[in-house]
Symmetry: C3
Subunit: 373 residues, 3 copies
């Protein structure tokens, strides 16, 4: 299944020219043996990557959506189209995941899956002891926001897959199946922490039940579509419908989704204005911190069990993303006292654009510098 061969992509004509220019060559040459050199390399890769990304349809449609919303356009992609597009993207990612798990060595998946759980819980704990302790941030709101940033965005994942396929970066096709291993623990952890906090505050002795939260997460529309796709890819033979329908429409439907997310990001901005500025700071920094953390753990998995460089990038993207579809309803049910304006605004308006526009090219640039791909 050589679907991701490196093909000449005119989209990158400009950055490639830059990459081939003397400045970069000489810089990277002189540092190439040192760790420091690797970091410079990564940064240069990121800058060229970022410039290229600005021209890529994925980011361009996202920014286009923000722009036309800011200009007051009455263009509207109906809610039902949006829901269907999300279904189509996650079904496609799931089907491919399922088909490749069929052929994969399940043992290879254990360490990355364990790291995904670790990152999911870790992100929430970090948020609990940074954002949620800040002045003018209500503790429940801070915990809920950390939970949403620990949870995963299917759209960001889909955007990364399209960019990596355009760039010819190979990855384990089961890597998107790491999604629930990070998403569910993060949401559970956030709801548990919030309950503990509120109980301590109220002095009540109610127990937090984990299973309902897990179930609620699994029943969310995005995770349902992904898991159903994985199951169908695993136990049936959906190759034809995958190759003739879900896969060819993937890139185009993603452009539509990015447009919707851009418009949504702008529309939610005003909600952010009502809450403390710390949310903006957190939402701008956290995706990158989480992504780099995951990149580090992914690197360990690369050394220990041969997790591919592309897989490391996807793990970082998943960690850097913040949930936009399934997470909010689960949190609303699990932490009813938290203010959705805080966590939804932070995630949709700042977190997701940062995760896509800065995160994806950053991790790819880093992977190219570190792994020499």
């Amino acid at each position: 299944m050589q679907r991701h061969a490196l093909h000449d992509d005119e989209r990158f004509a400009f950055p490639r020219a830059l990459a081939g220019s003397g400045i970069r060559e000489s810089l990277s040459e002189s540092y190439s043996t040192s760790t420091w050199g690797k970091i410079v390399d990564a940064l240069l890769e990121f800058v060229t990557k970022f410039a290229a990304q600005l021209q890529s349809p994925t980011l361009a449609f996202l920014l286009g959506g923000i722009l036309i919303a800011a200009l007051g356009s009455r263009l509207e992609i109906p809610e039902s189209i949006y829901k269907f597009v999300v279904f189509m993207l996650l079904m496609r990612v799931g089907l491919e995941g399922g088909m490749s798990i069929r052929e994969a060595n399940v043992a290879d998946m254990l360490l990355p899956a364990f790291f995904a759980v670790l990152i999911g819980c870790g992100i929430v704990l970090i948020g609990r002891f940074t954002l949620a302790l800040l002045p003018s941030v209500r503790t429940e709101d801070g915990i809920a926001t950390a939970g949403l940033f620990g949870a995963v965005s299917g759209s960001t994942l889909a955007a990364a897959i399209v960019v990596m396929e355009s760039d010819g970066i190979a990855y384990e096709h089961w890597a998107p199946a790491l999604y629930p291993f990070m998403d569910i623990p993060a949401l559970v952890m956030a709801i548990v922490l919030a309950s503990l906090y509120m109980k301590r505050k109220a002095g009540s002795g109610e127990k937090v039940r984990i299973w309902p939260i897990v179930k609620e997460s699994l029943q969310g529309s995005a995770l349902s579509a992904l898991l159903l796709g994985i199951a169908l890819g695993l136990v049936t033979r959906p190759e034809k419908v995958f190759e003739g329908f879900y896969d060819p429409l993937f890139r185009g439907l993603l452009s539509v989704l990015m447009l919707v997310m851009g418009m949504e990001a702008y529309a939610r901005l005003h909600e952010l204005k009502r809450v403390a500025h710390w949310y903006v700071v957190y939402a701008a920094i956290a995706p990158i911190v989480h992504g780099l953390l995951a990149f580090g753990l992914g690197y360990i998995a690369h050394v220990l069990v041969g997790f591919s460089p592309g897989g490391v990038v996807l793990l970082a993207v998943i960690a850097g993303s913040s949930s936009d579809i399934s997470g909010p309803p689960t949190l609303r049910a699990g932490i009813p006292t938290a203010n959705p304006s805080a966590y939804v605004g932070a995630s949709t308006s700042v977190g997701t654009p940062v995760a896509i526009a800065i995160g994806i090219p950053l991790y790819i640039g880093l992977a190219q510098a570190v792994f020499g791909i």
Copy 2:
């Protein structure tokens, strides 16, 4: 138009291995000349076909839909997408039908069309004198249910077309145009029988008018789309838009529709619980009985006018299907005292899954045994 050449389909790798195994060979050899042998052959074909079907996307998405609905998933394919998918499928089936009627010998269609009318009326009469006479079944409800099982399901028809094209089974492309010849007489017959029954009960002398029922049926969304497609295929040149749009999206959109129908089947189950258990029994048995009856008449048409084996299978599928889109509103208007929970529940929750999961592989297996295709 060699669109249905038999191509190697890895989906059937498992059953083909089974088909090639010694057990089946020796069994079919020893019986191959007797009628009994043919039945054994048909059953074996059905079993292998059914095992294969479980892996086919069509059935897998249907079962997947039932499964996630049972697990309480919040995944939702919006109503507007569902309506559009149905339109796309029936327009595609209609266009192909119209284009092939252009080149067909209209005389060839007469006997199959006559048989379709016969089956449509026959199914309702059978239901009238079995289901509707059972204790704890209200007569109007029984007649309405029989009417719905006599009417035709566009989705089941589309599912059969995809399976037959995957298997390389040729059929007259005008065969789907038999749809209205069975659908309308069945609905008319049901409404007439119900009116006669209620008049006798009430002693009133109102006359039943046939034309409004026919018109109501023809104006239904599914039949409108099919007939418009046939008309456009017949009098215009839609080849390009057919080959570039309606046909390539057919298989994929069907997978979406199957998912919706699975979810719907589960959601309607609770309606069935409110009515007599006889509906479940009827809904499970009737599709197969009707399909086999139609297979028999189709066989006669094969002998008399050379109706193709694939055409016989489609006639059986059409007869075995029960209406899910257009039928219910027509019945609701025509037999207002009948309980929709009974007929819609029986058709959507049991009839359609049986017609697709058991009916389609059964008739194909039977055709392979009888016609040696």
Copy 3:
């Protein structure tokens, strides 16, 4: 980018046969040197073109929509699908426009753009001094109707593009970018004229502000999508998503849109009955008059700056079209006292069908006669 090579299109088998027949040959031969001969040629081209058009999917779906609506079909293409289809079509037209402006000589666009502005204003002035002065036509209603006929229809434009690509008629791919240069001035002109008229009537001294009208137009959903597409095509590299998604779906989605527009045209007819018959007369004649006027100006641009014959046809199509999506809300806000039944009914029920069914083949036939393409 040789996307529009002339390919053998079986759709035109009949008219080509006619074109090759002796009658036409001898007629056109004897007149071929005179201006009169050219007109006869154009008319003959139009008749053959029109006969072909009746078989083309674009027109067939439009007429099919009118037909099934007239027959009372309950078929429904949901509103959300309609909105998304319009978005997809205009995004595709915009992307191609943007990508070709990148490579175009901007100076070439100046004269056609100036003519587009001229035509937009001219159409409204013509309407102001014909339709709006007729007895039983309220002046505001007449001006608003003229404004809507000066404004542009994205669907008519898309229909013309599909027909021209089928016929292998080349055009400047930036030509669709002339849309706003005609659309906005027409709407502004109409609202200004209506305000002047009402002020004179009321004797008040309020000033008409132009910018809010321009802004309102630019923010409309159709123009937003088109301009966003142009911007993305101009500054990013959307080739892959264009070639893999927006372009292949173009023709098929247009057939869906035509069906919706046909159904809509029939549904709006009853609104026309409530207003003066002059609207029907205007709506039937104006599209052709406007289109021929634009054809003349386009011819001047052809002579002066080498505007292509295909570009001239598109300019005529844009001029002959009347707005159906973005125009009405702008007019409703700008001329609140005008009766939407008059202008929407005239445009949707008569203007658009005439612009598509008669206008497009007429201008193509004319171009073939005049330019010998």
